[in-house]
């Protein structure tokens, strides 16, 4: 397989165009278009039920779009399985704790490389991760279930690096974490970004998420309502109204 083409910084690594998607009988996303610039951190925020997690699930192939298209590094994702999408370098860290509690931290991280056959490549990746996440390396022999919520998040981040992804998708990494722990988790997000990973995250703490990010998208009721740089979105006068209702835009 030829290596996927590199996306120049600032160019979109992911393009979502006119996507309508949902579960069962109803649509959750309505004609959603957005893009994720390479090399940046893009944060999607919005009130409960806005469709944020549905958007992520549609991008990573867990849910098929009913209309519209998604393109990753120039390649249309239509019809691809989650596993194929994973293989293209797009990794999704879900909202709920997803580690195998009874397995060790190291075993959990190794599982992140499940689709890799080359053992020496696996070993190199593991060594690289232990260097990137020294604190995670120190927990290698511990059972994942014995770690705190914030520690488990870091292990999930370390695990997703096994595939050396071009795009890391994080669904509410701050969920359930205290402000202090949130800071260390956000530091880890910045660190992955500094190591060349483009990040797309959903955050419930909109202000913290947008401040962390280069780009922001506000969703409401299954639609994109605002988009721009993190700062533009953070300072937009409409953002409060999108959460509390009464917006002239609705």
């Amino acid at each position: 397989m030829p290596p996927a083409s590199e996306t120049a910084p600032g160019e979109p690594v992911l393009v979502v165009e006119g996507v309508t998607s949902g579960y069962g009988g109803g649509d959750v996303l309505h004609d959603v278009s957005m893009s994720v610039p390479a090399g940046g951190i893009t944060c999607v925020v919005g009130p409960n039920g806005a469709g944020k997690s549905t958007l992520l699930a549609t991008i990573s192939g867990l849910l098929r779009p009913r209309r519209g298209s998604i393109t990753f590094r120039g390649e249309p994702l239509g019809g691809k399985s989650p596993r194929q999408i994973l293989g293209l370098g797009l990794v999704h860290v879900p909202q709920n704790h997803s580690l195998f509690r009874e397995m060790t931290v190291r075993e959990n991280i190794e599982l992140g490389g499940y689709i890799i056959r080359d053992r020496s490549l696996l070993a190199r990746r593991l060594a690289g991760i232990e260097e990137t996440f020294p604190q995670v390396a120190a927990w290698a022999g511990k059972k994942a279930g014995s770690l705190s919520g914030g520690e488990q998040r870091l292990v999930e981040f370390a695990r997703c690096m096994m595939l050396d992804p071009a795009l890391v998708i994080l669904d509410e990494p701050s969920m359930g974490l205290s402000p202090k722990v949130l800071r260390s988790v956000f530091d880890a997000v910045r660190m992955m970004n500094a190591r060349g990973k483009t990040i797309l995250l959903v955050e419930q703490n909109a202000r913290a998420g947008l401040r962390l990010s280069t780009h922001g998208v506000v969703m409401e009721n299954g639609r994109v309502r605002l988009a721009g740089t993190g700062e533009q979105v953070l300072g937009h006068p409409e953002i409060g109204a999108l959460y509390l209702g009464g917006s002239p835009a609705t």
Binding site: G49, P179, A206, R207, A208, R211, A241, L244, G245, T250
Partner: protein, 257 residues
């Protein structure tokens, strides 16, 4: 105005998590009150405490002048507080009418082994039919509750609670997961019941629904009341915005730190 329901300085912890901290909320008789707050702010815990599903660590709950703190759920229900649940609790393998008759049985005295055998009287059936007609689901009376749409289940649950003619109804996310046209229908039903004198306390994430329906809104964040007042005040209260938008991580740093 007379106070219908009041939780006074209620606190509740689950293990190390302080779900509610010195929480006070008052619902006046004849009003529709709203209770909002971000995920995990303690709304459902407060509902559970007010309806006897959880015990308080501290504080009291009053229905009118009566202290109902830590009473069993069935006692609270019998005293006049009806409630619905976030995820509807109906009997899926019973018909819609049978669900209503089970509810009717709970309003009578004593227990019965087979609720359907005793509570199937003409008066019960008539009242059940009236309520289902009011809710707009009477045509489904003989269908299994299982076959109802999610919004129709919410309406069944509302009808079911009304069988006991409670003084106040607590609704946990009545609009959650319901399609927009049915949301309007549910809001209209609540308004009609309120016009006829019923008091409501509503937990809901749909802001247009809450702000359009409620005369008074209380906002919880991390288990404490951060604001309370009419919707137009709540919408522009910076503490409410902080609760919903969060506080950026650097904001709490002293300069130069």
């Amino acid at each position: 105005m007379t106070t219908m329901l009041r939780a006074a300085s209620v606190s509740k912890a689950f293990g190390g998590v302080q779900a509610l901290q010195d929480c006070t909320i008052t619902v006046e008789e004849g009003t529709i009150a709203g209770l909002i707050g971000p995920n995990g702010s303690g709304k459902t815990t407060l509902f559970n405490i007010m309806t006897g599903y959880e015990r308080v660590d501290g504080g009291d709950v009053y229905l009118g002048d009566r202290n109902i703190t830590n009473l069993q759920p069935q006692r609270v229900f019998a005293l006049g507080i009806g409630r619905t649940f976030q995820l509807t609790r109906i009997f899926p393998r019973l018909t819609v009418m049978e669900n209503m008759l089970v509810a009717a049985q709970h309003t009578g005295h004593g227990r019965t082994r087979n609720p359907l055998a005793r509570a199937g009287g003409r008066a019960d059936r008539q009242r059940a039919t009236d309520l289902l007609e009011f809710a707009g689901i009477a045509r489904h009376a003989d269908a299994l509750a299982d076959t109802l749409s999610y919004g129709q289940r919410k309406l069944l649950e509302l009808s079911y609670v009304l069988v006991a003619d409670p003084a106040i109804v607590l609704l946990d996310e009545p609009a959650g997961g319901v399609n927009p046209s049915l949301i309007h229908h549910i809001a209209d039903r609540i308004r009609e019941l309120n016009a006829a004198g019923k008091t409501f306390l509503i937990v809901e994430h749909n802001m247009e629904f809450v702000m359009g329906l409620c005369g008074h809104v209380t906002v919880l964040d991390y288990g404490t009341v951060v604001a309370t007042g009419p919707p137009e005040i709540i919408r522009s209260d910076p503490r409410v915005l902080d609760a919903y938008l969060g506080i950026a991580e650097e904001d709490d740093d002293a300069p130069g730190q």
